[in-house]
Symmetry: C2
Subunit: 329 residues, 2 copies
């Protein structure tokens, strides 16, 4: 895929996603406005098919493949949400999907990926074979096409459809100037939203939100060049723990976004609790960092309304129970 992500590729993706992906609601609560000290809107991507925005990018990428190539099947690496998005899109399109997942991926996500008809190949993070080697072998042996989780113009374009909806739904509420905060791993959602808003809501500025210890994007934006995470590889925010911003995504982020906002584990859990009590939504840790940033880091934002993504809701039920009971903070 040599095309470059742009408003044109996002609009083309939106046409392919029409009737396939959900238009997710933009929600609000006077209780959250009060905490944030400003109007707060939450883009409920937890209500997207497969429980995260990843279905958008997956559908966009698979539907952009030449039919004969698509028919041979696809392969993806993912700890869970991209896995489910690709597996479900492939299932609906009737093509094979192989998903390479770490052995310690959350149980619910592995089970769901299998239930969507995908073949799951697990690997040991500390083992001899990297996921890239496993993927390369599968590509070569079976003619599968690799669907990258974020460094792919068609994936970024699919995530950008979330930005088109934000612009339209905010305008319906009279909001054209706002800070927009996106949960950020490799930057696919953040870059897609930023490109969409550049064209359709130029009064909005996009900020990536990341967890403490995994602030590669914030540091990369501050430095103006790609910086990697150097700390632990694991954390409760499994959905967004990527090693560094992508080669496709970072130039977009660097041109359009920032500064990045970094939130703590406690802030993440409090955002999860508030999403449940005030918006009635189950949000996973990696999907709650933008809400945490909007609620607790308003000092990093321009005045005016804030819009945040609730990117994923595939929380482990036990973890969600502990968070709701106040035992995981």
């Amino acid at each position: 895929m040599s095309e470059i992500a742009s408003i044109a590729t996002i609009e083309a993706a939106a046409a392919r996603l029409k009737g396939r992906a959900r238009v997710t609601p933009l929600l609000s609560s006077p209780f959250l406005d009060e905490i944030a000290g400003r109007p707060l809107y939450a883009k409920a991507e937890v209500l997207q098919h497969t429980g995260s925005f990843k279905f958008r990018g997956a559908w966009s990428a698979l539907s952009a493949l030449p039919p004969d190539l698509r028919a041979q099947g696809v392969v993806a690496f993912s700890s869970g949400n991209h896995a489910q998005g690709v597996a479900r899109a492939a299932q609906i399109m009737g093509v094979p999907a192989v998903i390479v997942m770490p052995e310690d991926a959350p149980e619910l996500k592995v089970a769901n990926t299998r239930a969507f008809g995908a073949e799951v190949v697990t690997y040991d993070r500390a083992g001899r074979q990297s996921r890239e080697e496993i993927g390369a072998r599968l590509q070569a042996e079976r003619g599968l096409t690799l669907i990258r989780p974020y460094d792919d113009a068609m994936v970024v374009s699919g995530q950008g459809t979330c930005g088109l909806e934000i612009a339209r739904q905010a305008a319906d509420r009279g909001v054209t100037e706002a800070s927009v905060i996106a949960c950020c791993g490799g930057g696919g959602l953040t870059a897609g939203i930023a490109l969409a808003l550049e064209a359709t809501a130029p009064g909005m500025r996009v900020h990536p939100a990341e967890p403490e210890g995994f602030d590669d994007t914030a540091r990369s934006l501050a430095a103006g060049s790609i910086q990697a995470n150097t700390g632990p590889e694991k954390g409760v925010w499994d959905a967004i723990l990527t090693p560094a911003p992508g080669e496709v995504t970072f130039p977009i982020l660097n041109r359009l976004c920032g500064p990045g906002i970094v939130v703590s584990e406690d802030e993440t859990y409090e955002a999860m609790r508030l999403a449940a009590t005030r918006l009635k939504l189950v949000v996973e840790p990696g999907g709650a960092v933008a809400l945490a940033a909007a609620l607790f880091h308003g000092d990093a934002l321009a005045d005016g309304p804030v819009i945040c993504t609730l990117s994923g809701g595939n929380a482990d039920p036990g973890l969600h129970a502990r968070v709701m009971a106040g035992l995981a903070a």
Copy 2:
């Protein structure tokens, strides 16, 4: 309010609610289809303002009052969801609201009702003064208008707007024949939906869902006359524990709905867990009985798709945590 609820009063309510109430999404999950053994759609009223469908009826009733009467304020009895709906509608309209709540109403609901600016008057269920006496005194002393939770044509008409949306959203998915299950307390939502569907989706049949021990509506429909609950007054489904079908609602239910479906406490909790893991929604016990009926009592339904309301999401966080952890089943 001497008007009788009809498709005309529902359409008039829809016009008054436009831009004020949310159009809530109709959601689905292949996992729930599999359990139900048929296509299942869930009307996510937990995403309505104040976390339940009650905001529809409250806004409908308050907006239908003559302005001079409305300005004097309103009074309502409620254990929580009608309370919040009336309080929030009154707050937005800038009129006083007094809510009479039992002392043992769920904490979150009492706190929210106060936070929406209402004056909360509590009473002891076992005490000397009935809530009716307290309400009558408040009406007389302050000129407040009583907003009944279900036995009011304007309230039923507001709840009916949920039915208009169900008809439209189902038709968008190609569904015109279906079983529709509504969580049923006094019958306001069930009656409103039934009236709306009679006119806009005559191929749909409405069934009330109730919890074991509080099956007054199911028994009333079977008998053809109003039957009261005779068992315990309390249960985990606080939102829908009414003594008997209403004088306004029962004739509508009797003409258009049934048979009623009765679900157990365990089925309620399993529906809450599935709503959280499969739809990413927090649903309270009283709001989960229709989903429980759709998932586990398909034998009571005609063949074909089933549509259920998720009526309310104001679950006590501690209870929700216990349910998610499997400790409350």
